[in-house]
Symmetry: D2
Subunit: 138 residues, 4 copies
């Protein structure tokens, strides 16, 4: 299983008055990594969203080991830890360019059908076109 890597630069928008990256923003970085990993496999989420299909995060375990700072160059990694028919569990890291691990995460994302505004968001099995790509990549 390959590790996918995606670079992220820390801008003012990502920091807080403590001078470090605000903790919620790691979840943004982690998702950019997953989005780009899907794109690298040929899966463009906007095409699927037009059919009401998307991924929704169900569980996050996040360990923040060292703070990232304004201007840091970070690397987000993506590894599939477990692939189900309706969900994926990712193991992810955010590291600094010098190799220091800043953040470790386990993220479970489930496939859903969004429907109209006001409708329930329903868990559904992944469409075969997505599942097969993920199985082949694993």
């Amino acid at each position: 299983m390959l590790t996918f890597e995606w670079p992220v630069r820390v801008y003012y928008e990502d920091t807080d008055a403590g001078g470090i990256v605000y903790y919620a923003n790691y979840l943004k970085f982690l998702e950019r990594g997953r989005t780009e990993w899907l794109r690298s496999l040929g899966i463009e989420q906007d095409t699927w969203l037009a059919h009401g299909i998307g991924f929704v995060v169900r569980q996050v375990h996040l360990e923040l080991l060292q703070p990232a700072r304004f201007n840091d160059e970070l690397i987000v990694t993506v590894v599939v830890e477990r692939l189900g028919r309706a969900s994926v569990v990712f193991a992810q890291q955010v590291t600094r360019r010098d190799g220091t691990v800043l953040c470790q995460a386990q993220v479970k994302a489930a496939c859903v059908q969004f429907g109209q505004p006001g409708d329930a968001v329903k868990a559904v099995p992944m469409p075969p076109a997505i599942l097969e790509v993920l199985q082949r990549a694993n």
Copy 2:
């Protein structure tokens, strides 16, 4: 014409590494004010969004006079400057509790029909049920 006021507290999420509120976040505060002003008139935007109707900002003029800081208690004000059939121009301020004006803004919002993901966002006249409420409030 009355001035509508809405309180906003500055949290860590709103600040940046300069120790002050990040400039984009004033646009969030200003929109919370407009949303609560609409609500005070009985207009709940989620009900309209379920029919694909919403407001989209077309123009913003923003003057940032003094920085807001972590933990500050702010007041967002909302005044309708001009009411059209398809758009509204707001004059808004963000002040500190001590009365210091931190930010002055003029915001033009247009009524739109959202449609399905992928569809164009079309400018439309406000539904009469909204327009009449805004006219009466003015």
Copy 3:
């Protein structure tokens, strides 16, 4: 041990193209709850930040059970699960007004000394003035 409650309204800023609250934003809501809980005990974090003292989140376990939507009125709850000399573990929930639990979280925050930009962020014991208040509240 009392449960502290803090209301949060969902604005456009909190949602994403799936029509629901973006997952990272729950961490913002949870932190607003912790900040207001500290405030309710008389601890204003900006006063401490002026001395370089703050809390940094080290661990988050997040379960997202049901999506929150634009305009929802949410309640964030805060309970201290474990109080150490240098860190606090919180059990938190985000519920809808109708009582539905949308999100469950365990958050570990550690006391740190921030120092100048560029300096390391050092874990430190809580100042007695903070620790005593938290012990009394527990």
Copy 4:
């Protein structure tokens, strides 16, 4: 005068329940452009921030012509419209890859000295090392 260009990808984090990029987030994109333009000239803002020197936005005029959407590839452009001793006025655009202009902005940023938390943010002339680089680039 050259036009500096910086690519920006739209992620879920940037969108809202209307299915389009949330208006405040254009200010983030515009600032990424300015930060990368400064970097391209050899000015790293974190180095200056360690001396308490930074840029703060004073004025923004923003025209939102067409909405950007999830997954769009955008280009942010940066042109210096006016260079003073203590401030810079930028003309900026956000365009889609197909050349459609989505957003036009004029942004005035002033040089400031940040000081300690709680201190005032003071307008100061740009340090010569910054001013000379900007003059040469113009």
